[in-house]
């Protein structure tokens, strides 16, 4: 899981100065090879435009303001959908982790709904909401809900019972027990859920915007396909990748800050 793959190597294995740069060597090499392959005609530009063409297309769209507008729309949809689905998932995770009654009442139902792939609901969602904003928000929220719900629930249920007993012995009230023992104990698992949810968030949004939207990155890509603007199509895909990476990095930074006590995050 995420906690394990971020365990760092001992110092001696590192090239200190290249540390931050080393991860960019492979992507840059791929772009260089790609450029060469396009220029020499090895890869026809109808199949895959040269990186320079993609950048040029990006520059034009940037000047026209279209790029920023579409990125903003997609970003806004992703964030709002994530916030809605994430909060509801977190709330259910808390409730079902802390209360037997709540768990008995809703957990089985939620586990059943989980087995429906949320993207399979697209036709239904279009019937309900049309290609309105709410359709995209609904799908993103639904996709994000489950990883957050499941991991919050799992995190709370697996908090060391000995620590909870300790908290009770030392006279913690329910609120204090939650704040000082249960929530911090569940946090590593909650972060695993957040990272999963971010992946699902982008995936859902791409699909939803491609099928049913009149703005956003996915819509931009579909429009470009209709006019055979392959450079814009590739540009959209690359921007999705960048935004995904950005979201993942942000969650890692947050994780590092909040879980600085965790042995996996301690720098020596």
């Amino acid at each position: 899981m995420s906690l394990i793959d971020s365990v760092s190597f001992p110092r001696s294995f590192r090239l200190p100065r290249l540390d931050g740069l080393i991860q960019w060597i492979v992507p840059l090499a791929i772009i260089a090879i790609w450029q060469v392959a396009s220029v020499t005609g090895f890869v026809p530009t109808r199949v895959l435009p040269a990186p320079s063409d993609v950048m040029l297309a990006g520059w034009k769209l940037l000047l026209s303001g279209e790029l920023v507008r579409n990125i903003w729309v997609s970003f806004w949809r992703a964030s709002i959908g994530f916030l809605i689905g994430g909060s509801i998932g977190f709330a259910f995770g808390l409730a079902n982790g802390l209360s037997q009654l709540s768990s008995k009442l809703t957990d089985t139902t939620l586990q059943m709904v989980r087995n429906v792939p949320h993207l399979a609901l697209i036709p239904l969602v279009i019937l309900w909401f049309g290609i309105d904003e709410s359709a995209k928000l609904f799908l993103v929220a639904l996709g994000v809900f489950f990883p957050i719900y499941l991991n919050t629930l799992h995190g709370i249920r697996t908090v060391d019972p000995q620590l909870i007993e300790m908290g009770r012995i030392y006279g913690m009230s329910d609120g204090e027990l939650f704040r000082r023992v249960i929530f911090p104990g569940a946090l590593p698992s909650i972060f695993v859920g957040i990272r999963f949810a971010l992946g699902i968030m982008w995936l859902t949004l791409i699909v939803a915007e491609t099928i049913a939207a009149s703005s956003g990155l996915g819509y931009m890509a579909m429009q470009a396909r209709e006019f055979m603007l392959i450079d814009v199509v590739v540009l959209s895909i690359l921007i999705y990748a960048l935004l995904g990476k950005l979201a993942d990095s942000a969650s890692r930074v947050l994780e590092r800050l909040m879980l600085s006590w965790h042995p996996a995050f301690q720098k020596r």
Binding site: M166, Y170, H262
Partner: protein, 278 residues
Amino acid sequence: MQTALRTSLPETELASRANFAPHARVLREERPAQTSGLPLSIRALRKSYGDNEVLRGIDLHIPAGQFVAIVGKSGCGKSTLLRLIAGLEKFDAGSISLGDAVKPEDIRVMFQEPRLLPWARVLSNVEVGLGRDRSSSDAHTRAEKALTEVGLTDKRDQWPSVLSGGQKQRVALARALVSRPRVLAFDEPLGALDALTRISMQRLLERVWRDQGFTAILVTHDVAEAVALADRVLVIEEGRIAHDVVVNTARPRERGSAELAGLEGSILSHLLSADDRT
């Protein structure tokens, strides 16, 4: 020096014998100067888990400030007795009384696992021990003082994960001590430590007990540890106190002395003979 070894004596008789012993005066001097400890009286205490009758009538009086060790085979109910005394579980019959009005902060328990909060620094972990006084203005100073008592002042801002097993247990001890408890119950607190760390922890336990004068109840599977630390060793068998052994050896005690070794041997043979019978 002579030691008193009696089998299943009523506690009162035992106490009076101790008073007639020639070195009773010495014993009293070894006791903490001002006893903040609470006396503990247990009468006909019973506890079952389902069909499993764990405690079948425990009668016990512990005078204020005494250091009592409890030994017995694994599964004989030592932890259960301790948990009942600490109020962590309900008993089926009998009574436990702890002297005058007891606050929750007056009784503290230390377990084999340190049970520190991994996400709290050492000092905040100690502050947890203040109970309801956690948010008072002198919480920091009191926690720091408790850390000094266990010799870990320099670790106050560390995460528990960087401490050794012995250091973690010392933080747990500081957390238990910070509220100035009047009864301190230990459930095999040194069971997971290596031999050398154990010995230094035993010294530390004895020292804080002498400094603070709480009533100490130590459950241990190590009979040598029991005779080295305790005023009195109780052997539990079949849900009852089968032997009540007074250790009159003066403190500081010399580890491995013939006197302690003899006592240890006789307690061990009790335990083993019980084993043969079953």
